[in-house]
């Protein structure tokens, strides 16, 4: 701060304890705390209910399974949440997931697993770059733009793979779902990626810019923030996570499908987790840990329905209700 202090008389509010507005910040924080609390309480409550209703739930095998099954949705939800906080939207993450897994499989079959994995992830980043170009330089509405690329990438996946499954021949590819110190590598990757996203969001200039752009684009721009670059990086990050999710899942069965139904359900699951995690669709607000809580709540619900042998149809209805509750809390709390 290089401004000198002005003469005493011009400083109007010195006694900040008397200043109105003090409690408003507090009220806002209280609301946020309540939101945080309600989501945590729900997660814990769910955990307890599941532990009580099923003997299998608390076994390490089941828990690890639930975690492993959440990896793809979790990866995509973390970065997809960032896209939404930035005022964008990425409908194409599912299609990128499918297409980059196919690229990884094909490259792996020609050049080996290492190159296959790397090229799958890079393909994700590149496809994210296409979204970035369309939604920034191309000035196309994010929803429309990524819907278009999603359909296009899905078509490309079918064209490249010929429609059926692509099998990965190099067994080294399965390193991504091997166990290390008794924990599945894919879970470690997921945890690491979530940590990186949280760090980016909370502790870096990039994170600040991302929230600024999502909150008020024009104000961000006039503050010297490059709106386009910020959004572009976020879309590429989203592509990266989708590519990563693609290769991780491919490493489990060493077989890659090309169905666009899979792509869509993945995007919607991720979106559901983001919403349950209380990320505001208006942009400018959200937290990674809450997205993770959203992911685990949905995964827990699904696991519970499975373990207790309840018709999955009800699970779908429950997910819908959870989303509505989470969004309603957000809207009502901020009124």
């Amino acid at each position: 701060m290089s401004l000198s202090r002005p003469s005493q008389s011009s400083s109007l509010a010195k006694d900040s304890s008397l200043v109105p507005g003090a409690a408003n910040g507090r009220r806002q924080r209280n609301i946020e705390r309540m939101q945080d609390f309600s989501i945590l309480a729900f997660l814990v409550g769910l955990f307890i209910v599941l532990a009580l209703t099923s003997d299998v739930f608390l076994t390490s095998r089941n828990l690890e399974n639930v975690l492993a099954q959440s990896v793809a949705v979790g990866l995509i939800a973390c970065s997809g949440g960032l896209v939404i906080m930035c005022g964008g939207f990425d409908l194409a993450a599912g299609a990128i997931y499918v297409l980059s897994a196919i690229v990884a499989a094909k490259v792996s079959n020609t050049f080996g697993a290492e190159l296959g994995i790397v090229s799958g992830i890079l393909a994700g980043v590149a496809l994210g770059g296409v979204n970035a170009l369309i939604c920034t330089v191309g000035k196309i509405n994010a929803f429309v733009g990524t819907l278009g690329t999603s359909i296009f990438f899905g078509g490309a996946a079918t064209a490249i793979s010929g429609g059926g499954f692509t099998y990965i021949e190099d067994p080294a590819f399965s390193v991504l779902s091997a166990d290390i110190f008794g924990i599945n590598v894919s879970i470690i990757i997921f945890a690491a990626f979530a940590a990186v996203c949280a760090f980016l969001l909370n502790r870096t200039v990039f994170g600040r810019y991302l929230l600024a752009v999502g909150d008020n684009e024009e104000a961000a721009k006039l503050s010297g923030v490059s709106v386009n670059w910020t959004r572009a990086w976020v879309y590429m990050l989203s592509g990266f996570s989708a590519g990563l999710a693609g290769v991780v899942v491919a490493s489990r069965s060493l077989a890659v499908g090309s169905s666009s139904g899979l792509a869509n359900s993945l995007v919607f699951s991720a979106l559901a987790a983001i919403l349950v995690g209380g990320v505001s669709m208006r942009g400018g607000d959200g937290a990674i840990w809450r997205i993770l809580a959203g992911v685990f709540i949905l995964a827990g619900v699904s696991n519970g329905f499975n373990l207790n042998g309840i018709d999955p149809l009800y699970q779908q209805m429950m997910t819908g209700v959870l989303i509505l509750i989470a969004v309603a809390i957000d809207v009502w709390a901020k009124r």
Binding site: L3, S10, L12, G21, N24, G25, V205, A212, E218
Partner: protein, 504 residues
């Protein structure tokens, strides 16, 4: 303290009304009565509670305790519609219009005539014609609201109130965004409304306007009513004394003249953009250049273009030793030492859902807060606390949410944000809009301090007194071109107005 509250006869009165936001008392046991046919002014510092009181009277906010009463009978307004039924309408500080719809649709929004749900357009047109004739407004019903000037948009809001047959129209800082001549028209309109029996509540920081226009003045301070008295019993000095609890000699602090030999800081040569063409001027270090003109004369676009937020079509900018055809982005301009205070704090200046601190440091994260992209909370806190002290921003501290600040305090945050990085040239677009008179003076002191240390300022202002009081030179724009240049000694209100209207 003369708080004479005539019961009965009033359109509405507040009785010991308090409003708490969390633990903050925005209003503390406030009692006022608004009588028919009077212009009742509300004055007070930023954050004194004027807008809060206005919103309570209009049913937009409910009081935490106390009540409203109409003709001696207690009433409760839960939503603005209840107030409208009682004949009370509000024109908010930030206009609330549908920008992409026509004037007539805006005026009759919610009052549409329909038969079994099907709109009957023609009857509306008749009612509109009648309304405009009766009140002497001159606005085409099919104009799109976004294409109207701010003054005309305000008329749309007033028409909307009149269409609902309001007895009382509450106007929150209606002239803050008007140019001097537009404000003159507005004053005429207010008098006409009053002469036809309407009551007006007028929130304003312009004390002369208050004294000239109103019948009764209520002074507020820290959420309390200081006094409510007849306007003729008040003077500027007594109002200021009541509002601030102290007096100030004049709005403009003394200031030495700029030396004529200082080097030019910013030169604009034949610059053209979307809404202006062939504009040239230069500011030297230590100098303040004022730009006057009507709203829509291209002043804001000019500043935005110099700053790199809009593209230049032709011409050159000489900044320091560089000559080029305009900055490519605000980012580049900021890096070179330029800062812009944008015209609309809500649309261009602030992130309303983030904290005061995050807003202030946003443009300076890379250079002053972060190392290698990672933020330092300590550094941010120091910078922010410093700014809050320097600018006298009334808030709970750097962590307070931006949307909890009053209008004037938000404006101070935008200014703090601009000045934080020690820019070389400041581009200011309406720097004191909505700022109270005490804070205005402290902002002027900061600006004079800035130029005394070698900075240069280009300031756009619709307030003639401000342009004249601040500037060494004044440039007047009209329809995107420079229509007059005056030195400090030549710049008078008459000359500037004549140039702005093209009657020079």
């Amino acid at each position: 303290m003369t708080s004479d509250i005539p019961s009965n006869g009033e359109i509405i009165s507040a009785v010991s009304v308090s409003k708490n936001y969390g633990a903050t008392r925005a209003l503390n046991e406030v009692s006022v009565a608004i009588n028919p046919g009077e212009v009742h002014a509300l004055v007070g510092e930023n954050g004194a509670g004027k807008s809060t009181l206005a919103k309570i009277l209009a049913g937009a906010v409910e009081p935490s305790s106390g009540h409203l009463q109409v003709a001696g009978v207690p009433v409760r307004f839960v939503r603005p519609r209840d107030a409208l039924r009682a004949g009370i309408a509000i024109v908010q500080q930030e206009l609330a219009l549908l920008p992409s719809q026509s004037v007539i649709r805006n005026v009759f929004l919610g009052l549409e005539d329909h038969r079994a749900g099907i709109l009957v357009e023609s009857s509306l047109r008749g009612r509109y014609a009648e309304l405009v004739r009766r009140w002497g407004f001159d606005l085409h019903p099919d104009m799109k609201v976004s294409s109207l000037s701010i003054g005309d948009q305000q008329k749309v809001e007033i028409l909307r109130a009149l269409a609902r047959d309001a007895k009382l129209i509450i106007m929150d800082e209606p002239t803050a965004r008007l140019t001097t001549p537009e404000a003159g028209q507005f004053h005429k309109m207010v008098r006409e409304l009053r002469d036809q029996g309407k009551a007006i509540v007028l929130v304003s920081h312009f004390l002369e306007e208050v004294l000239r226009l109103s019948d009764r003045v209520t002074i507020m301070r820290d959420g309390c009513v200081v006094r409510s008295s007849k306007a003729e019993d008040e003077t500027s000095a007594t109002l200021v004394q009541g509002m601030l609890g102290r007096s100030i000699e004049s709005t403009f602090p003394p200031r030495p003249r700029a030396s004529l030999f200082a080097e030019p800081r910013l030169e604009v040569i034949g610059l053209s953009g979307k809404k202006f063409s062939d504009v040239s001027f230069s500011v030297r270090s230590g100098e303040i250049l004022g730009i006057a003109g009507m709203i829509g004369s291209g002043r804001s676009e000019l500043l935005r273009t110099i700053f790199g937020a809009d593209r230049a079509i032709g011409g050159e900018i000489r900044f320091g030793t560089n000559v080029h055809s305009g900055f490519k982005s605000p980012r580049e301009a900021i890096a070179q030492g330029l800062a812009l205070l944008p015209e609309s704090r809500k649309d261009e200046g602030l992130l309303l859902s983030q904290t005061v601190g995050d807003n202030i440091v946003l443009p300076h994260l890379r250079d002053h807060v972060a190392s290698a992209g990672v933020l330092s909370r300590h550094r941010q806190q120091d910078l922010v606390n410093n700014s809050i002290g320097t600018f006298g921003i009334r808030c709970a501290g750097g962590g307070a949410s931006m949307s909890s600040l009053s209008g004037g305090n938000q404006q101070k945050v935008v200014l703090a944000k601009c000045l934080l990085a020690d820019p070389k040239v400041l581009l200011l677009d309406e720097p004191t809009r909505g700022v109270d008179i005490g804070a205005k003076r402290s902002i002027y002191e900061l600006l004079f301090d800035f130029v005394a240390k070698g900075g240069a300022i280009v300031v756009v202002s619709s307030e003639l007194e401000e342009v004249i009081g601040l500037s060494d030179d004044v440039v007047v724009m009209r329809r995107g071109q420079i229509a007059g240049r005056f030195s400090k000694d030549e710049a008078t209100e008459e000359r500037i107005l004549a140039a702005a209207f093209g009657t020079a």
